[in-house]
Amino acid sequence: MAAVAVGCAVAMLSAKNPVHSALWLVGNFVALAVIYLILSAPVLFAIQMIVYAGAIMVLFLFVIMFFMAPRARQWLRPPLAGQLTLGGILAVVLLLLLMWGLGNGAIVPSMEPEQPPSAAAQAPAGEEQGAAVPPLGQPVELGKWLFTWQVLPFELTSLLLLAALLGAVMIARDVASEGRERGREHAPVVHDRQAGGEG
């Protein structure tokens, strides 16, 4: 699975066509989802498949299609000087650092964090008997965890999603066409300094 993931990533990077890149990314996501499953996170496997590979990539593809004018694919500008070399060097350095860190155990903490009292002390009602521990990854367990211990981030995330939704609508709206639809006097006054094709 790891190889699959890496391969998909490489392919994504090297694809000339953005659509191809997107499709390879989907493959990468699927591979990762399977790895999640291996790591005893079935909930996330499902979520990854649905949200990421399903919704997000679809969105990406929509936008890519949006820009698929025939001329859009040509790089008329020369590539930036030094970007590839320096970026490559730094990326390699980063990789080495990460590996080194992993190898030294500096990144993986070895100490045991403190135990939240309720989860260990009380047994979930009716789910287990005696000292038996439910295996990792049960959706029920995750749900319990999510709605008790981590309820705050959960709620905040929902707020965030709301904000993002509104923001996206605001950013990408076309004020000129709005004016056209509703009549001139309804068009909001915006000084669009960005107008004009070339940068």
Binding site: L80, Q83, G87, L90, A91, L94, L97, G101, A106
Partner: protein
């Protein structure tokens, strides 16, 4: 009253403030004049009361004639403790009296003289301020208070000389006075610093008490240096050679200013200072000789210049310089009380002379050149009379005041016993010649101005028929001053005329301190006799030892004055005018030397002013423009260069910025991994 002596300073200060701040809002000019004169009148009253208080308490003050009034603690820094202290002792009482008195009269005079001037209240404001500063100077109990007054009178002198500031010439004269004064102040400050470093205090009383001890414990050059530096300050302030150049040009100011500042008070500040710090001078006999030498040289040179000047005020200015030289001569030989005596009498008759000349100028509609005057006696009788009285006084004709003080000076010089005694003869001779010249040029001025045929008719035809006498406000002070010039001499009569001498014993606690010094002070102390009398005659070796000698000297000086005045000047200037022209031609080099003020100004200009301005110019061109501006511009340039260096980082491309972020992240990880 002794504790309230500061009121004498406060009244003129308030007057100055009121006139200065509110003068322009006063509807009538009279108010400013009244305020100014009243302030001075009150000050004079305080002076009299203080004197009365002091004299009647003299018994209780026997052990300490110095009465200090501490107004407020001022500078307390580490070992430096200086308070604003006023000192009431005989010397300061004398100064207080005559400064306030003469100033009061001059203020009254000014109400008349400046009546048509638009800066009327400004004038009185400055004048009051000046008196306040002069009183601070005279009443100061330590060096720093005195210095406050010292600088203050210099400032007021500048303000008043350049009173009619719209004329550039007047402003320049004011600047010249102030700058030359400052040169002297440098010496004064060094003297003060040395005093402080050796005595640990600048308080006069403490210095007086400690002087014998301190000076016996240091090398002999110490009091000499202190004395010379302090005297440098006096040279600047009292217009002695070589810093006398500012006084004649100070005549650009209004005549009351000349009378007050440059005749009676400010220029005597130098004499006062030397008299005040006389223990220092007596501890350094060489300094005394230097003082006497410069004094007599100044007297001689400036008298010679006065012989040929045509501007009536300039003659009087050089006369002032000359008389100041006499005063310093007296100080130099150790006769401090005589110097102060001459200060007082000179204040009276010189102020009278100046005010008379102001009256003449006023009457002649601002004409100052004696060559176009003449025959004014019958049109300005009061002015004429008082002028003549003062001329007689300055020439040393008894029984007017000048005789007593000037003759006493000549006598003291002649019997000088210090280690430079043998030179006394030369000093005396020069002084005598100077006295002769004094009589001569004063007679010349008198006769040219008031007697003889009128030479001013041409320019007067269209204005009036003839000049007229001045108004009472101006004439009254003239009369008072002339009267004082008549009687003031009787304060210090010599022994052979009865010995009614009140001024010497009165001043003795302040000026005769050498008598209290232990015998081991210095080697040959300049023999200052504590009393006038037998001691003098005992010490008198070469010139006889009887009172008759003194009388002979007196008669000699009177004769000299009479000859100068009547035998030479009168005929020359009233009847035989041709003589002067002939003399001028035959003695042409001398005439030129005298007329051009011995070329002092020209020498200074070429030796100091021109190199100075060249140096300043060079400093500007090179140092200021290149170095200082270079540094400032250079800093700016460096900053700009740094900006230019870093500028390429701002490419505007997002990917480059992402690269920078990655770089930062990598560095961060490295740092955290390996720390």
């Amino acid at each position: 009253m002794l504790n309230y002596v500061w009121l004498a300073i406060a009244f003129p200060l308030i007057g100055a403030a009121v006139n200065g701040l509110f003068g322009r809002y006063m509807r009538s000019k009279l108010v400013s004049g009244v305020i100014g004169c009243t302030a001075l009148g009150l000050s004079f009253l305080v002076a009299i009361l203080t004197w009365w208080d002091y004299s009647t308490q003299v018994l209780t003050l026997r052990d300490s004639p110095f009465y200090q009034v501490t107004l407020w603690p001022w500078i307390h820094v580490a070992e430096l403790k200086l308070d604003f202290v006023l000192l009431v002792d005989p010397l300061s009482v004398v100064m207080l009296l005559f400064v306030t008195g003469v100033s009061f009269l001059i203020h009254i005079y000014s109400t008349g003289y400046m009546a048509h001037d638009e800066g009327y209240s400004r004038f009185f404001s400055y004048l009051n301020l000046f008196v306040a500063m002069m009183l601070i100077l005279s009443l100061g109990g330590n060096g720093i208070v005195m210095f406050v007054g010292w600088e203050g009178v210099g400032l007021c002198s500048y303000l008043l000389i350049g009173f009619w500031y719209r004329n550039m010439y007047n402003a320049n004269c004011g600047m010249k006075a102030f700058i030359v004064n400052r040169i002297g102040d440098f010496g004064m400050l060094i003297g003060m610093f040395m005093l402080f470093s050796y005595f640990g205090t600048l308080n006069f009383v403490d210095i007086f008490r400690a002087a014998p001890v301190v000076f016996s414990g240091v090398d002999s050059w110490v009091p000499l240096a202190i004395a010379l530096f302090l005297f440098l300050g006096a040279i600047g302030k009292s217009a002695q050679m070589p810093l006398h150049i500012w006084l004649p040009d100070a005549m650009a100011g209004p005549t009351p200013v000349s009378a007050l500042i440059h005749a009676a008070t400010m220029v005597t500040a130098g004499v006062y200072m030397v008299a005040r710090l006389n223990p220092v001078f007596t501890a350094a006999p060489t300094a005394g000789f230097v003082v006497a030498l410069i004094g007599v040289a100044t007297a001689f040179v400036s008298a010679s210049i006065a012989l040929t000047q045509n501007d009536i005020k300039r003659v009087l200015a050089y006369s002032t310089v000359s008389q100041l030289g006499f005063m310093f001569l007296a100080c130099g030989v150790g006769a401090y009380w005589v110097a102060i005596f001459h200060v007082v009498t000179h204040a009276f008759f010189k102020a009278c002379l100046f005010l008379c000349s102001g009256s003449v100028i006023h009457g002649m509609h601002d004409e100052q050149d004696t060559r176009v005057m003449g025959g004014l006696a019958k049109y300005m009788p009061w002015t004429y009379a008082t002028f003549v009285i003062s001329t007689l006084a300055i020439s040393g004709i008894p029984p007017l005041a000048g005789f007593f003080s000037k003759d006493e000076i000549l006598w003291r010089v002649a019997v000088w016993q210090g280690q430079f005694g043998p030179a006394a003869g030369w000093l005396w001779a020069l002084a005598l010649i100077t006295a002769f010249m004094t009589a001569f040029y004063m007679g010349r001025v008198t006769f040219k101005t008031f007697l003889g045929k009128p030479r001013w008719t041409a320019q007067y035809v269209e204005h009036h028929k003839h000049p007229h006498e001045s108004r009472p406000a101006m004439v009254m002070p003239l009369a008072v001053l002339a009267g004082l010039a008549c009687v003031a001499g009787f304060l210090g009569m010599p022994k052979w005329l009865g010995g009614f001498n009140v001024i010497e014993p009165f001043l003795a606690p302040s000026t005769a301190m050498a008598a209290a010094a232990p015998a081991e002070v210095g080697g040959a102390v300049a023999g200052v006799p504590a009393e006038h009398g037998e001691e003098v005659h005992q010490a008198f070796i070469t010139l006889g030892s009887t009172m008759a000698t003194e009388v002979a000297f007196a008669v000699l000086s009177v004769l000299v004055g009479l000859i100068g005045l009547f035998v030479l000047a009168l005929p020359m200037y009233t009847r035989r005018f041709g003589v002067t022209e002939g003399l001028k031609q035959r003695l042409r080099p001398l005439y030129l030397l005298s007329f051009n003020k011995w070329y002092f100004d020209e020498i200074y200009h070429h030796a100091i002013v021109i190199p100075g301005t060249a140096f300043a110019y060079t400093c500007w061109r090179f140092f200021d423009l290149k170095v200082v501006d270079g540094i400032v511009n250079g800093v700016a340039w460096v900053l700009g260069a740094i900006g230019q260096l870093i500028r390429p980082l701002q490419t505007g491309f997002v990917r480059n910025y992402a690269l920078y972020m990655l770089l930062g992240a990598v560095l961060f990880i490295v740092f955290n991994l390996f720390k």
